[in-house]
C-alpha cells in the first residue's frame, strides 16, 4: 500500500517537473525535436531507476542529473552532426537583413548556445535559465563548485561576445 502511494506520487511529481525538464532538454539539445527525444529517454531511465531515488531528496536535481548524463553519453554525437548541417545552412542564409532582424536575433541565442562547449552550456542553462544555485548545479553536473563557477563565467563571456551587448 505504501509503495503504491509512493509510486504514484513519483510519477505525478515527475510529470509536474516536465515543463522545466523540457526547457532544459531543448536548451541542451538545441531544438525541440531532439529535446523531446532527450525527455523521453530521461523519463524512461528515471522510471527504470526509480528505486535508486532516495525519498526525501530532491527529485528535480536527481532527474536533471539523469538527463544531463544521457545527453553527455548519447546526445553529443547527434548534436555534432547537426551542428555541421546548421552551419552550412547559416552560411547560405548570410545576406538576409532588415525585416527579419528580430527573428534572426532569437535564433542567434540558440546558435550561440550551440556553439558553447557542452560543459559551459549546461552550466549556463542550469544557473541562468533553470535558476539553480552554484552548489546545486555543481551537484547535478558532478563537479566542484569552483569548476562550475569558472565554466559559467567562460560560457557567459562567450555568449556576450557572440550576442554583442546583451540587451
Amino acid at each position: 500500500m505504501k509503495a503504491e502511494t509512493l509510486g504514484t506520487s513519483f510519477e505525478t511529481d515527475l510529470l509536474a517537473l516536465m515543463p522545466r525538464l523540457r526547457r532544459f532538454a531543448v536548451g541542451l539539445a538545441g531544438n525541440p525535436a531532439d529535446g523531446d527525444d532527450l525527455c523521453q529517454m530521461t523519463i524512461e531511465r528515471a522510471l527504470t531507476n526509480r528505486s535508486k531515488w532516495t525519498e526525501g531528496t530532491r527529485l528535480d536535481s536527481w532527474t536533471y542529473r539523469i538527463m544531463r548524463n544521457i545527453w553527455i553519453d548519447e546526445g553529443r554525437k547527434a548534436t555534432r552532426s547537426r551542428e555541421t548541417f546548421v552551419a552550412e545552412e547559416a552560411g547560405a542564409g548570410v545576406g538576409g537583413d532588415g525585416a527579419q532582424e528580430s527573428a534572426v536575433e532569437l535564433s542567434n541565442v540558440d546558435r550561440a548556445m550551440q556553439k558553447l562547449p557542452e560543459d559551459q552550456r549546461e552550466a549556463v542553462l542550469l544557473v541562468m535559465v533553470e535558476g539553480y544555485a552554484y552548489k546545486e548545479a555543481a551537484e547535478i553536473v558532478g563537479c566542484p563548485v569552483g569548476t562550475l563557477n569558472s565554466r559559467l563565467v567562460r560560457g557567459r563571456d562567450a555568449l556576450m561576445g557572440m550576442l554583442g551587448e546583451a540587451q
Binding site: T8, L14, M18, V26, I43, S150
Partner: protein
C-alpha cells in the same frame, strides 16, 4: 581589493557568501565599470530566461505525459496514449515486431478510421466476407489473392481480421450486419474514398490492428474456435 570575474558573475547571481557579498557590493557601488559588468551579467540572464521561458509554458507533449500517467483515461480512442502505455509496459502484442517500425507512420493514418460514424459504415462484399469467414491464418495459401494477416478482438469484443489483398488490405470486424470495415488500404474498391489510407502496406494495417486490439492476436486454436462460433 581585487575582485575576480567569477566573483562579479557570482555577485550578479546572488551566489557569493554573505561576508564577501558585502565587500563586492561596496566595490560595485563605487566603481561604474564593475557596476556595468554586473548589469551585463544580469541582462544576459534576463535574455536567456526570456528566450527559454516559452518552452516551459507549452503543454507537455502527450507522448511524454502519457509515459507518466499510470492509467490513461481512454483505452483505444487515444491512440498515442495507448501506444505509450504499451511501450511503457514492454508488453507489445506478439506481432509487435512487425508493427513496431510502422507505429509512427500509422498515427497519421489512424485518424481516417471510420470509427463512431454510423452513416458511413461499409461492409465487406460477399467474396471478401467469405474469405473472412472461412480462412484461417495457419491454413491459407501464401499465394492466395486475399491473405489474412491476423485475427484479434477489439474493445467491443468483436472479432476482427486484418487482411492483405492485391488491391489493398484493411481491417474488418464482425458485427450484427456482417464484416464492417474499420480501415481500408489504398486501392480497395469497396469503400468510400474518404477512408482510404494512402500507401498503406501490411505493416500499416498491422499497426492499426495493434491499436484496435484489446489483447494479443488470436493463436491458431483460438482462431479456429472463433470460426466454429461464427465469429460472434
Amino acid at each position: 581589493m581585487s575582485i575576480t570575474r567569477e566573483e562579479i558573475a557570482a555577485f550578479a547571481d546572488g551566489q557569493l557568501p554573505p561576508e564577501r557579498e558585502a565587500e563586492v557590493a561596496a566595490a560595485v557601488a563605487s566603481d561604474p565599470t564593475l557596476a556595468e559588468e554586473v548589469a551585463k551579467h544580469r541582462a544576459l540572464k534576463a535574455m536567456l530566461q526570456g528566450h527559454f521561458a516559452p518552452i516551459a509554458e507549452e503543454p507537455v507533449p502527450e507522448n511524454l505525459a502519457a509515459l507518466l500517467r499510470p492509467e490513461p483515461q481512454s483505452e483505444v480512442v487515444d491512440f498515442a496514449a495507448a501506444r505509450e502505455k504499451r511501450e511503457q509496459k514492454r508488453k507489445l502484442p506478439s506481432w509487435g515486431w512487425v508493427a513496431g517500425p510502422a507505429l509512427a507512420a500509422s498515427l497519421a493514418i489512424a485518424i481516417f478510421l471510420p470509427r463512431g460514424n454510423e452513416t458511413t459504415d461499409s461492409y465487406a462484399d460477399a467474396q471478401l466476407a467469405s474469405v473472412l469467414e472461412q480462412t484461417l491464418v495457419a491454413e491459407q495459401l501464401a499465394s492466395a489473392d486475399t491473405r489474412i494477416l491476423l485475427s484479434f478482438q477489439n474493445d467491443d469484443a468483436e472479432f476482427c481480421r486484418a487482411f492483405s489483398a492485391a488491391d489493398g488490405g484493411g481491417i474488418a470486424c464482425r458485427d450484427d450486419n456482417g464484416w464492417k470495415f474499420e480501415a481500408l488500404g489504398e486501392g480497395s474498391e469497396t469503400a468510400g474514398t474518404e477512408y482510404r489510407m494512402a500507401g498503406a502496406g501490411d505493416a500499416d494495417i498491422l499497426a492499426i490492428a495493434q491499436e484496435l486490439a484489446e489483447g494479443p492476436a488470436l493463436d491458431a486454436e483460438a482462431e479456429r474456435a472463433a470460426r466454429e462460433a461464427g465469429w460472434r
